[in-house]
């Protein structure tokens, strides 16, 4: 629930600001000279990380809207691009990297979308490289903005008019109502992060339940949208095998495997600086006490044989019900691919190409 709206002086007359204000009529508003004022207020609070979820800062994006996903050389990256619409999230997941990524993290939304669409125009027209996968769910949840903005109503029809780029909206919400009736031309993939009900209950405060997410996915499928799912972060805990196997079954009982563009698997990994934050803010959480080792990118990861076992089992359960679905790992190395899936992306033209081809099959784009 938003308790205060901060508006950057520089955008106070922007029409998008009025739209947000109308959707939050009872919320007090402060116009501020810059972000520093908002940071100052939040930093003085008892729990700035939680406080940052209750204020909404409307501002402009001074940098590029289109960015490369911050992958590292040490692990195989999917070559995704980020559409930087805003930062942070209203939900509160224990493992969320955004808690440690911004100092302090603030729910901020960029209203200067004229430039966003200009960058998209340039990309669509440029023809190089020939195909792109773009998502808004890297620094925020794609659909938390739906109650206050008209973002999806603008983005989805935009992508529908071209055949060189797909948009992925990744969420843990059920805020799909605004997607109903939009002209999407299957160029928008609606994606959910999935986890077991036990993990959602203990680690994902304020998110939709697993069943609710799957119902929303089925609804989007009924509206003709292609779907994607991200089992990320997979967490090892007592009973994970039974829970994750059931989750896979529920997924394929809810939506058609043929309509899934891709499924990613990623095990829990975190920057060391996140550990004390989780310990302090989620005192009952046990997720940081697994067998983690420092990875090649400096993030803590489960010791490799544990990851391989986890992926092997997940892949087998998914393959059993959806043998042809495009399955990939988020930030893993060749050894893990080989051991868990029996091949390395290089053998099939690379991970980016594999994903592009799946998008071409499901979304009718030109690769």
């Amino acid at each position: 629930m938003i308790s205060r709206l901060y508006i950057d002086e520089a955008v106070k007359h922007h029409p998008a600001v009025g739209t947000v204000q109308q959707s939050l009529p009872a919320v007090p508003v402060s116009v501020v000279p810059d972000a520093a004022k908002v940071y100052e207020v939040l930093t003085a609070m008892q729990d700035p990380i939680a406080a940052g979820k209750r204020v909404l800062f409307l501002t402009r994006n001074k940098g590029p809207f289109l960015r490369k996903c911050p992958g590292t050389k040490s692990y195989i990256c999917c070559g995704y691009q980020i559409l930087h619409i805003g930062t942070y999230c209203t939900m509160d997941c224990a493992y969320c990297i955004l808690q440690a990524y911004f100092h302090p993290p603030v729910l901020q939304y960029f209203v200067n979308q004229e430039r966003l669409f200009k960058e998209l125009d340039d990309l669509v027209r440029s023809g190089r490289p020939p195909f792109h996968r773009i998502g808004t769910g890297e620094f925020t949840d794609s659909l938390i903005w739906e109650p206050w903005t008209e973002l999806s109503s603008a983005l989805v029809p935009y992508f529908a008019q071209q055949d060189r780029v797909v948009l992925e909206l990744k969420t843990k919400t059920t805020a799909v109502e605004n997607l109903r009736g939009l002209e999407h031309n299957r160029k928008t993939i609606v994606a959910w992060s999935l986890n077991s009900p036990a993990i959602i209950r203990s680690e994902e405060r304020g998110t939709a339940s697993m069943r609710a997410r799957l119902r929303a996915a089925a609804q989007c499928e009924a509206w003709g949208y292609p779907l994607a799912f991200h089992f990320d972060p997979l967490i090892l805990y007592e009973g994970w095998e039974k829970d994750y196997r059931r989750l896979v079954r529920e997924l394929f009982a809810s939506v058609s495997a043929q309509n899934i563009v891709w499924i990613s698997l990623g095990s829990f990994r975190f920057m060391p600086s996140l550990k004390p934050i989780i310990r302090k803010r989620f005192q009952k959480s046990r997720i940081i006490y697994g067998e983690f080792i420092p990875g090649l990118d400096g993030k803590m990861r489960y010791f490799k044989p544990l990851r391989i076992e986890l992926y092997r089992k997940m892949a087998a359960w998914i393959r059993e019900l959806a043998p042809d679905v495009m399955l990939y790992f988020c930030m893993e190395d060749q050894e893990v691919w080989e051991q868990a899936l029996g091949f390395v992306p290089e053998d099939r033209g690379g991970l980016s190409r594999m994903l592009d081809e799946s998008a071409a099959r499901h979304c009718g784009v030109v690769v």
Partner: protein, 327 residues
């Protein structure tokens, strides 16, 4: 609140039996041992009289000079010259006076600072007041250090004294302040035996804490477990060996799969039959980074010998198992 009121005193001779030496309201130091002072007072007398405050029950409370009173008592004196506070002085005023008196002739150690913070905190009207008083009282101005010292005061006295005796490091004690007294004392008992360095103490605390969470046990249960006791009881081991074994035992319990992989690596490494001139190290945590091969030689003859060792190594099936441990 921030200005120390001008205190007025009356110089009196007080019967030592009228002084409540157990009233430690204003005591900062855990040490009451008067030995060093006894000789000095015997030789030259009491130069600086203690400061006392008369309580409502007419007994005297020591504000400044605990060790002086105890030294005079040890010398068999029945009476002592003292400066008795006149008028009504609050407990806060007396504590501040005690701290300032100690500070006037030496730096307060961390335990004394912790005592001061603990005793002053409940008497101050706001959370930040104590930090605002820091510069006057000689407490650290850095907020983090201030909090760390404050956390020390929550620990049992034995552990606080252990900081002064260098049994347990200050940083480790800050970590211990998050534990119950029972758990903290269990760590302290272990550190008394092992005399570990600061980093190793903190490593043990983290390992035990995380094992306790993983296994749903109390830290004290882990520290008093058979595995640890058996190591500590081994008479043939010296203190350093015991320390290493305790840490290895805890690491194995906290990271069982990693420890197993390290053991397998050591076994395969032995099978390679390398010598003291050729040494191989696994990639860190077997995560896929480069392995290291170190070779030393003096001249061409040595070099040829090493090459033969490397050739034999390449043909040994153990090498493949080392390089592909998760096949």
């Amino acid at each position: 609140m921030f200005d120390q009121p001008v205190m007025k005193y009356a110089d009196k001779v007080i019967s030592i039996s009228e002084i409540d030496t157990k009233d430690d309201t204003c005591r900062l130091s855990l040490r009451t041992d008067p030995d060093a002072l006894v000789d000095s007072i015997r030789a030259v007398g009491l130069i600086n009289p203690p400061v006392l405050r008369q309580r409502q029950d007419l007994k005297y409370q020591i504000v400044c000079g605990f060790r002086r009173v105890m030294a005079c008592k040890a010398l068999g004196w029945h009476e002592i010259k003292a400066r008795v506070l006149k008028g009504s002085s609050t407990e806060l005023d007396c504590l501040k006076l005690s701290i300032l008196d100690n500070r006037s002739h030496r730096q307060l150690n961390v335990v004394e600072q912790a005592q001061g913070i603990q005793k002053l905190s409940p008497l101050l009207p706001c959370r930040n007041c104590l930090q605002m008083l820091s510069s006057v009282l000689g407490f650290p101005k850095n907020q983090k250090v201030f909090k760390k010292i404050g956390s020390l005061s929550r620990l049992p006295g034995a552990i606080q004294a252990g900081v002064m005796d260098e049994i347990v490091s200050f940083e480790a004690v800050v970590d211990l302040s998050e534990f119950s007294s029972e758990d903290a004392l269990s760590f302290f008992e272990l550190f008394k035996v092992l005399k570990l360095s600061q980093n190793k103490q903190r490593e043990v605390i983290t390992l035990v804490w995380e094992i306790a969470i993983r296994e749903d046990l109390k830290p004290a249960e882990i520290l008093q477990s058979k595995g640890i006791r058996t190591i500590l009881d081994r008479a043939e081991l010296n203190r350093n060996e015991k320390g290493s074994k305790v840490r290895a035992h805890l690491k194995q319990r906290r990271f069982p799969t990693l420890t197993e992989a390290e053991k397998r690596f050591s076994k395969e490494l032995k099978a390679l039959k390398l010598n003291e001139h050729v040494h191989m190290t696994a990639s860190p945590y077997f995560e896929g980074g480069p392995h290291t091969l170190r070779m030393t030689f003096k001249g061409m003859k040595d070099f040829d010998e090493r090459r033969k060792t490397l050739d034999a190594m390449a043909k040994n099936p153990a090498l493949k198992r080392l390089l592909e441990p998760f096949e």
